[in-house]
Amino acid sequence: MRIVIGEDLFLLREGLVKLLSAHGFEIVAAVATAPELLAALVDQHPDVGIVDVRLPPTHTDDGLRAALQARAQVPGLPVLVLSQYVEQLYARELLADQAGGVGYLLKDRVFNDDQFTGAIRTVAAGGTVLDPEVISKLLDRHSRTEPLTRLTARERQVLALMAEGRSNAAIAQRLFVTEKAVSKHAAGIFAKLDLAPSDDDNRRVLAVLAYLES
C-alpha cells in the first residue's frame, strides 16, 4: 500500500516511516511542508495520505487545508489527518464532501499500532475513521435531547463505536459480544433514531454522523 506522509517534526516523521515500513507499507514520500505535501498528494496519488494538521509555512492548519485542497483536486483521495488535538469543526470540514476515505485521529492513537494500521486500511478502502474524542463530544451535544435519551447504555456504546467507523465485527470484538448481538443493537439504534438501516459500513457511519451533526 502506497503512503505519503506530511509531518514537519523530524522525530515523528521518521517514527511514522519506521513504524509503517515495519508493517509493510510503502512510503512514497515523507515531506515537511504543506506545499510539498499538496504536490506529493496530487502527483503521487497514494493509497493514503497521512497528514499532520499543523505544518509550515504558517504553522497553523496548513496541513488540513492542503489535504482538503488535494481532495478537491482528486475527489475521494483518502487522507488520514493526525493532530495533537481534535476539533469537531475540522471533522465536519473533512466529512463535508461526503466522499468517504477520511480519517481524523489524535496523534497518540499511533501508539496502538494495530488500531492505527487498521484505521489506515479502513481509510484506504474508502471508509471513515473518527477519533473517539470527536465522537464523545458529538454525543455530549445530543446527550440531553430526545431521542438519544431513549437509547440504552449498551446502544450508546455501539453508536459511538459505529460513529468512529468500526465494522460490526470490530465492535463485537471490542465489546466482547457476538456480531449478531451488535447488528441487533444497530437495528435498534437505527429504529430509535429513525434512520434508514444500511449494511454498508461507510454509509452507516455517514448516516450516524449526519444525524449527530444536525
Binding site: V53, R54, P57, T58, T60, D61, D62, R65, L68, Q69, Q84, Y85, E87, Q88, L89, Y90, R92, E93, A96, L106, K107, D108, F111, N112, K137, D140, R141, H142, S143, R144, T145
Partner: protein, 546 residues
Amino acid sequence: MLFALVLLLTIGCIAFILSRGTARPEGLRGWLRARGWGLLLLPVAMSAAAMAGGAHGLIPAELGLAVLAIAFAPELAAKLVPYGVLGLAGFGLHLAKRYRDGFTNPVQYVFVHAGPDTWRGGAPPVLLEAGVLFVTGLWLLVRVDAPGAVLIRALAGRWLDNGRGGISAVQALLLVPVVGLAMQLLGPGNWFGIGAVDGLDVAVIDLAVATAALVLIFRLRAWAATVAVAGLLVLGTYGWLIAAFWPAVPGFAYGFSDLGNNSVPSPLWSDALQGSLLLALGLWLTPRVMRHHLAGAPDPELAARARQLTQRVQTLTKTRHDAVDTAVAELRRIERDLHDGAQARLVALGMSLQAAERLFPVNPQAALALVTEAKETSSRALTDLRELVRGIYPPVLADRGLADAVRALALDTPLHTELDIDLPSPAPAGGHAGPGTAGGHAGTIDMPVAAAVYFAIAEALANAVRHSGARTVRIHLRHEAGALRAQVTDDGAGGADPAAGTGLAGVERRLATFDGILAVSSPPGGPTIVAIEVPCALSSAKTSSC
C-alpha cells in the same frame, strides 16, 4: 462675659452631640442627634435675643419659637440656621458702622460685649466677628443645602477648580483686606474731603466696591491677585507718605493707626512700619503674580486634555496592574498543572520503563505488562498537555482566528447553539479556507484581544451550561462602529448574579486591559444576556482609548 460663656457651652454641647459617630443611640441623645444642624438655631436665637434685649436680657418668645422649630420642624430649623447666622453678620456690619459714627451704648454682639470701653469704640471687634459669622453662614448654607446653596457652590466650585494659571486662592483672596484697608483709609465720606455723604450713599458705594472685588476674586482670579498686589504697593508707599507729610496727605485711618479722630498726628513710626510691611509683602508677591501674566492665559483645551490624560494614566495603571496579576496567576496555574499532570506522568513512565528493563531477562511477561502500562501513562500525559494547551491558547484560535474558534466552541457546547458571526475577513463561512487567505489567520483582530473575547464567550457559555438550565444559546459576534461586540444570550432561568462567581470577574479584568467592558443582564425568569465590547479591536495602538 457670662453670656459668651453660656453661648460657647451651648455650641460645644451641640458639636459634641453631632460629632458622636454615625450610629443613632436611643433616648434623648438620639432625639437630639436627629435634629442635626437645626440645633444651631438655639444659639442663633439666643444671640439675637441678647442683642435685641440689651446686654443681659433674653426674650423668651424668640427662644420659644426656636425650640418649637427645632422640636417639630427640624428640617426647617436646619435651613433657617445659615440665614440666622448671615443675619447676625449683617447686623454686626450695621453695629460696627454705628460705633464708628460715635454710638456708645454697650451691646452683646454674639461673643463680644462691645461698648465704649472696647478697643477703639467697639467697631473693630464687632467687624471682625461679623466677618467670621459671614464666612460661617456661607459655609452652613452649603452644608445644610439651604436655598441659595447652589449659587454659592457654582461660584466656589468654579473658583476652587485647580489649574487656573498658578494663581492660588489665597493670592486672590488678598484683595479682601487690601480693599478693606483702602476703604478705611480713603473711604467714601472721607474721600479728599468730599465728606457729608449721607449713610445711604455710603452703603451703595460700599456695596459696589465689594461686588467688584467679589467678581474679580471669583471670575478673574489672576486679576484679583494683580489688583491686590498693586494695592499693597500703593498702600505701602502711602504709609511712608503719611509718616513724611501728615497731615498734608488725606486719610481717615491707616491700618492700626487712627488718623481722622486725632488732631495731632499719631506716632508716625507705626505708619512707616505698616507701610514697610505692606510694601515688603507686595514686592515679594509681584514676581509670583506677574509670572502668570507673562506666561499667558492657560489654554482651556490644554487643561481639558491634561485632565483626560491624567484619567487615562490612572485607568492604565490599574489595568496594567490587573494584567500583570492575571498573567502571574496564569503562569502559576500552568506551572502547577504541569507539575501535577504531565511531569508526574512522565516520572511514572520512566519508572515503569526502568522496572520493565530490570524484569525483562527474568520475567518477560511482567515486563511486557509494564511497557503497556507505560504506553497508557504516556497517552494520559498527552491528554493532560492537550487540556493545558487549550486553556493557554486554544489551537483553533491560533489556526483560524476568532470566528472559527467561536464556531468550534459552539460545537463543543452540549446545548443547541445559534450563531450570528460577522467579522472582517478572513472568516470563511463554510469553514474551507482558500489558498488566498494563508497567513492572515487571526483576521485583523489583534491576537490578545481575540483571546480575551474568546475566553469571555467560553465563560459565558460554560455558565449557561452549568447554571441556567437553558436549551438554546445564541451567540452574536460582530465588528461594527469601531468596536468588537459579542453577546451570549440563553433562554434559561435567569437570575444570575455576576458578582457571585469569580469567572466573569476575571474575564472582566482581562477585557479591561483592552478597554473592553462586560455587562450581564439576567432578570429572574431569563433571558440571561452577557454582552462584551472591546473598542479598537482592529488597531494596534494601545495608547488611545478611541
